[in-house]
């Protein structure tokens, strides 16, 4: 595309997937126990979106990548220490809660407002990237709502592949039922692409990229706008962990044939 793309990636932090999570009831509704103390990572599907954005920007001259991130400022700063070394981007930080119990509608509102406020953003070249769902709220709706607020009528969910064709059109592969892909061609930007895993590995750390990014990230964090998001109109009756403990029967030192016969009988049973 002539002049490249303006790619805005929406993504925030979530608890490290390996952490044990426990719900509690706080003054504003449900929350996670020791939420501020839990190690965080960039939301996995949003991370894929960011890596795909950087990859695309590298190929399309004149492109630029912004990361719009809503979370507690201190935790965002921690996250940026590692994330900044991955790929070049400009941070737009919003200081607010990143937990899963905030309503997508409210989150979409503040993110859309932040995107509208990005100086120099050319909406005709806009590709709005994000994860197809977060690992916290796991609703899979925020990107579409932001797209609607920004007036973007071409939207794609669970994207694994984006190809910019010679005529500037976008060939998109979206995951659908049964392990298949829906293939569509969009005339060009603006478009919303909510990514699944894509095809790119996590980029290695680059200290040079990190230093370059951090020059802009620290000021962006300092001027992060405080925003209020919650769950207005939602009444949580309870939030609980499922009873997941099972009494596991351990079959050890049994002949392979015996194990195989038991499995076959179970499958057929």
């Amino acid at each position: 595309m002539s002049g490249g793309f303006h790619i805005v990636v929406c993504g925030s932090l979530v608890p490290d997937p390996l952490q044990t999570l426990e719900p509690i009831t706080g003054p504003g509704g449900p929350a996670l126990k020791n939420e501020m103390m839990l190690p965080s990572v960039l939301d996995p599907w949003a991370a894929h979106a960011l890596y795909e954005a950087a990859h695309l920007a590298k190929k399309a001259a004149g492109s630029k990548v912004w990361l719009v991130s809503l979370g507690p400022k201190a935790k965002l700063q921690q996250l940026m220490m590692s994330l900044a070394q991955k790929v070049p981007f400009e941070l737009v930080a919003l200081d607010g809660p990143a937990g899963g119990f905030a309503d997508s509608y409210e989150v979409a509102a503040v993110l859309a407002q932040a995107i509208e406020g990005i100086a120099g953003l050319d909406r005709s070249r806009l590709l709005l990237f994000g994860g197809c769902a977060s690992a916290s709220r796991d609703a899979g709706v925020t990107m579409q709502m932001i797209g609607e607020r920004l007036g973007v009528a071409d939207q794609f969910l669970a994207v694994d592949e984006l190809t910019v064709q010679d005529d500037g059109s976008l060939r998109v592969m979206e995951r659908i039922e049964g392990g298949r892909y829906l293939v569509s061609v969009c005339a060009g930007p603006p478009a919303v692409l909510a990514w699944a895993t894509g095809h790119l590995p996590e980029p290695p750390n680059s200290p040079q990229v990190g230093m370059m990014n951090m020059r802009a990230i620290m000021p962006a964090l300092q001027k992060a706008k405080p925003v209020k998001v919650g769950a207005e109109g939602i009444a949580f009756v309870n939030v609980e962990l499922p009873q997941q403990r099972r009494e596991t029967r351990i079959v050890k030192d049994a002949p392979v044939e015996e194990i195989a016969r038991e499995i076959v009988a179970w499958i057929r049973g």
Partner: protein, 344 residues
């Protein structure tokens, strides 16, 4: 009084999918549970009459339809326009729809257009005392919430395989045609078609009775100090062929393809279950060579009967999460299982 709209799309053959009939059952039950509520049906597709006739006996007070060639395909612009028009025609306060890929993409934007609110991955609908509460999971199936909302319209995307499919008498109904105009730019997207994953074998079968999960152990060095990836492929494919199981994989195994390691050729990210993959619903699941804990628990949340084959008796994933853990070499076990299955 709630005005409930059951909203769905037809398939290519103008019928309703299993997921669509499950959501209809949920909508019918909801209507019965909320005194004074009314149920209407909204259908989107190339031709919706046959689908409407097929569910004529569901008790809906009215049937609305947006039909035409441009609404036959799965595309955000046309789907959102159709759903918005149907919601407005029905004056809906509650909108129930199946969580198909098509509606999961379109309805959040429709909620925004209607100034409504939306909840997805709905796995329970409760109407005790005449009040609507839903159940849905947070943090990728790691905790479940029961909640309600005061805001209307409230859109609900119902997860598949939670409710039984609606079954009832077909008939002949009058479908009220609703006009849905595509927004400017709404046809900038052209649907090319559907493709399988870029692997040789079709290994994902959502309706299978058994989920077979292959872990990274299949590609690790075995007792002889060598890897046996081709042998692993043959064993796994043989098992899938004989059992018609669906194939899942751990993240670590799928990621190997992008890390330059020798990989199982027919695995893609679409096979991945867990924290950043799918959470499929199957009656039974057999895990082989899987390690790790919490992410696997997430992927297996909706598997009823679980067994695992693993060389580590203390595997944190299997103990307490599986019903039976066979401490054995999966290569040998699956080879023998295949042999027994072949004998019939």
């Amino acid at each position: 009084m709630e005005k409930i709209l059951y909203l769905t799309h037809t398939q290519q053959d103008d019928t309703l999918s299993k997921a669509a009939r499950e959501a209809l059952n949920a909508a019918v039950d909801l209507s019965k549970g909320l005194a004074g509520s009314t149920l209407t049906v909204g259908l989107v597709g190339e031709d919706v009459q046959a689908a409407a006739n097929a569910i004529a006996g569901c008790g809906a007070a009215a049937f609305f339809g947006v039909a035409g060639a441009e609404f036959a395909v799965s595309r955000y612009g046309s789907d959102a326009a159709a759903a918005e028009a149907l919601a407005k025609a029905a004056g809906a306060t509650l909108i129930l729809a199946p969580a198909t890929s098509r509606l999961s993409r379109a309805l959040p934007g429709v909620a925004q257009r209607l100034q409504g609110r939306i909840d997805t991955h709905v796995t329970g609908i409760l109407t005790e005392g005449g009040n609507l509460h839903i159940q849905r999971w947070y943090y990728r199936q790691r905790m479940m919430a029961t909640l309600t909302r005061s805001h209307r319209p409230w859109l609900l995307l119902v997860d598949p395989a939670v409710f039984d499919p609606w079954q009832g008498q077909p008939g002949s109904v009058s479908v009220q045609a609703v006009a849905a105009s595509l927004p400017e730019g709404g046809t900038r997207t052209h649907v090319v078609g559907v493709e399988g994953a870029s692997t040789d074998a079709q290994t994902i079968r959502p309706d299978a009775k058994l989920l077979f999960v292959a872990g990274a152990g299949w590609t690790k060095k075995q007792a002889d100090g060598q890897t046996h990836v081709k042998e692993a492929e043959a064993l796994i494919l043989g098992f899938l062929e004989k059992t018609q199981a669906s194939l899942g994989s751990s993240k670590s195994l799928v990621d190997q393809s992008s890390e330059g390691q020798e990989v199982i050729s027919f695995l893609s990210h679409l096979n991945q279950v867990g924290q950043t993959g799918a959470t499929p619903r199957h009656p039974k699941g057999l895990a082989t060579c899987c390690h790790g804990e919490e992410p696997h628990v997430v992927g297996w949340r909706f598997i009823n009967e679980r067994r695992a084959v693993n060389t580590d008796p203390n595997c944190g994933w299997a103990r307490g999460k599986a019903d039976v853990l066979y401490v054995a070499d999966a290569f040998k076990v699956i080879a023998k299982v295949n042999e027994l299955l072949a004998e019939g």
